[in-house]
């Protein structure tokens, strides 16, 4: 009764409720999606303007950079679409409204994620797909079944890394009641530094970004696809296996979450 099949069915039931609740805010849907897309557009515009004048950055031209940017953004969108409700998680913990997820017969995390439907993440995902699509025809990569499969795994792996890190950081709130600022800051690091070849940040920078581990989201797999496994000072095999990093990070994070959940204190009122 608590198996994976039941959890998926419960997710569908709860999503049904969330969709019905969301219909009331239809006007907001389009606007938030556009806002999400524009925000990412501005990020890419910077790269584009710089490269319009300078052509390459650390050997990456505009097509390569678009591939990197697109992969990172799709990975970002892929985790944000299902996991955006984590943004409200520490509020639930602080106010004790997380209680309700603990007395229903479905995974508390799954119930949290299906509380409401948010539309701005779809803006991220769509704009990511647009950039990635354009980049795929611009770069010098032979897109066969193998490379496409690698790309897909890399995107899922990247999503699992970002999502896993955010989940682990969120679960701090079970103890401290607050984790928003830390989460936002780490999210900024991914959003800013994940879009550039890690080599430009020097040895210390690369080390930090490998540990966090920003480079595994898109930079390493993109450099594998582009056939330049110069990888942030890491062995080439690490770059090749980077999509697996997501599975490791996500599993570890889920265990952390489960552990921290036992320390949930509810609220006095």
């Amino acid at each position: 009764m608590t198996g994976v099949r039941w959890q998926l069915r419960a997710a569908l039931i709860l999503l049904g409720g969330a969709v019905r609740g969301a219909v009331q805010y239809r006007a907001d849907i389009v606007f938030t999606m556009i806002a999400g897309a524009l925000y990412n557009g501005a990020g890419f515009a910077t790269i584009w303007v710089v490269l319009d004048r300078f052509e390459v950055i650390a050997g990456w031209d505009i097509g390569d950079m678009a591939l990197l940017y697109g992969m990172r953004l799709v990975a970002h969108g892929l985790w944000l679409v299902p996991f955006n409700q984590l943004d409200w998680f520490s509020d639930h913990v602080r106010e004790g409204s997380f209680d309700r997820y603990l007395v229903r017969p479905a995974s508390p995390l799954l119930q949290l994620l299906t509380t409401r439907i948010q539309f701005s993440p779809f803006g991220d995902l769509i704009s990511g797909l647009v950039v990635l699509g354009a980049a795929m025809s611009a770069v010098d990569v032979d897109w066969g079944p193998l490379t496409v499969a690698y790309l897909v795994f890399a995107l899922i792996g990247g999503a699992l890394i970002e999502g896993g890190i955010q989940l682990a950081l969120s679960s701090i709130a079970f103890r401290t009641l607050k984790a928003d600022q830390v989460k936002l800051t780490v999210d900024s690091v991914f959003n800013l530094f994940g879009n550039y070849p890690a080599r430009i940040f020097g040895t210390a920078g690369q080390l930090v970004l490998s540990v966090i581990p920003v480079v595994f989201v898109a930079y390493l797999p993109a450099s594998v696809l582009l056939g330049r496994v110069d990888a942030a000072g890491l062995p080439a095999v690490v770059a090749w296996l980077s999509p697996l990093a997501g599975v490791v990070v996500a599993t570890a994070s889920y265990l952390v979450w489960r552990r921290m959940l036992l320390g949930y204190q509810s609220s006095g009122t």
Binding site: V49, T185, I200
Partner: protein, 255 residues
């Protein structure tokens, strides 16, 4: 004068209630700073000079534009929106200080809080990215003041929309995104493609960040000040007009 000071004092303590969040707000500009400095160093790729702009000029540009952007970030739009929506703007109206002047004092209060914050960022910025000496300190100070005033005007115009729509939704967020680009905070105008540069030059936002920093670097002078003054007059007049109509709305409709 004393009531102005008292007003500012309460505003400052309001801002300071969120001092912890404010400290975290410093992290983002710092990250941006590190990123941009690395990007420029990488694209220069060892060249000492591109289009007559040296690497040290570019890193100084990054340091200063980050600080200026921090100075421009302001809660005023959010405040006005809240006051209008809750109807508390009616209370503000009967205060001894005119409503519009209250808003400008609010913005000045935020600067008072932000200056010590910048004292934290500044040394870090200088160490990590670098800074050359100013070409014209006096002119730079004047230009900074004008840039700040222009930014105040733009924010007040956006905030005024709340009087009609009651909420600004994602508009502030969109403005934040667009302004980063159009103010020159991310890329200086001299490295923009021609058509984009022309478009940006015709907009007021470049006068908030790009102009003062360019003057600091000796890439602009009295000409830039002139453009800033023109924008200030135009936008200032627009603010006065729009806010007069907004107040009229509040008085007629009772908020």
């Amino acid at each position: 004068m004393t009531e102005h000071l008292a007003f500012m004092r309460t505003r400052i303590s309001e801002v300071l209630t969120y001092r912890f969040e404010l400290l975290f707000q410093l992290i983002n500009p710092l990250l941006q700073l590190l990123l941009l400095a690395a990007v420029w160093r990488a694209v220069y790729a060892g060249k000492s000079d591109v289009d007559g702009v040296s690497v040290s000029t570019m890193t100084t540009y990054v340091t200063l534009s980050t600080l200026h952007t921090l100075l421009m970030h302001d809660q005023i739009v959010h405040w006005v929106e809240q006051r209008v929506r809750s109807g508390a703007v009616g209370i503000d109206l009967v205060r001894p200080i005119p409503l519009l002047r209250q808003q400008i004092l609010s913005q000045a209060s935020q600067v008072a809080v932000k200056v010590p914050m910048m004292a934290v960022v500044f040394p870090v910025a200088v160490v990590t990215t670098g800074l050359v000496a100013p070409a014209a300190p006096g002119l730079y100070a004047l230009s900074t003041l004008l840039g700040w005033l222009i930014n105040c005007c733009v924010l007040l115009l956006i905030a005024a929309v709340a009087f009609w729509t009651l909420e600004l939704g994602g508009m502030t967020f969109l403005y934040y995104v667009v302004s980063q680009f159009l103010s020159g905070a991310l890329v200086p105008l001299w490295f923009m493609p021609g058509w984009l540069r022309t478009a940006v030059e015709w907009l007021p936002l470049q006068a908030t960040v790009f102009t003062p920093v360019a003057i600091y670097l000796g890439k602009d002078g009295w000409g830039g000040i002139g453009v800033q003054a023109m924008w200030l007059v135009l936008l200032g007049a627009a603010v006065v007009l729009v806010w007069r109509r907004a107040l009229h709305r509040v008085v007629v409709q009772g908020g």
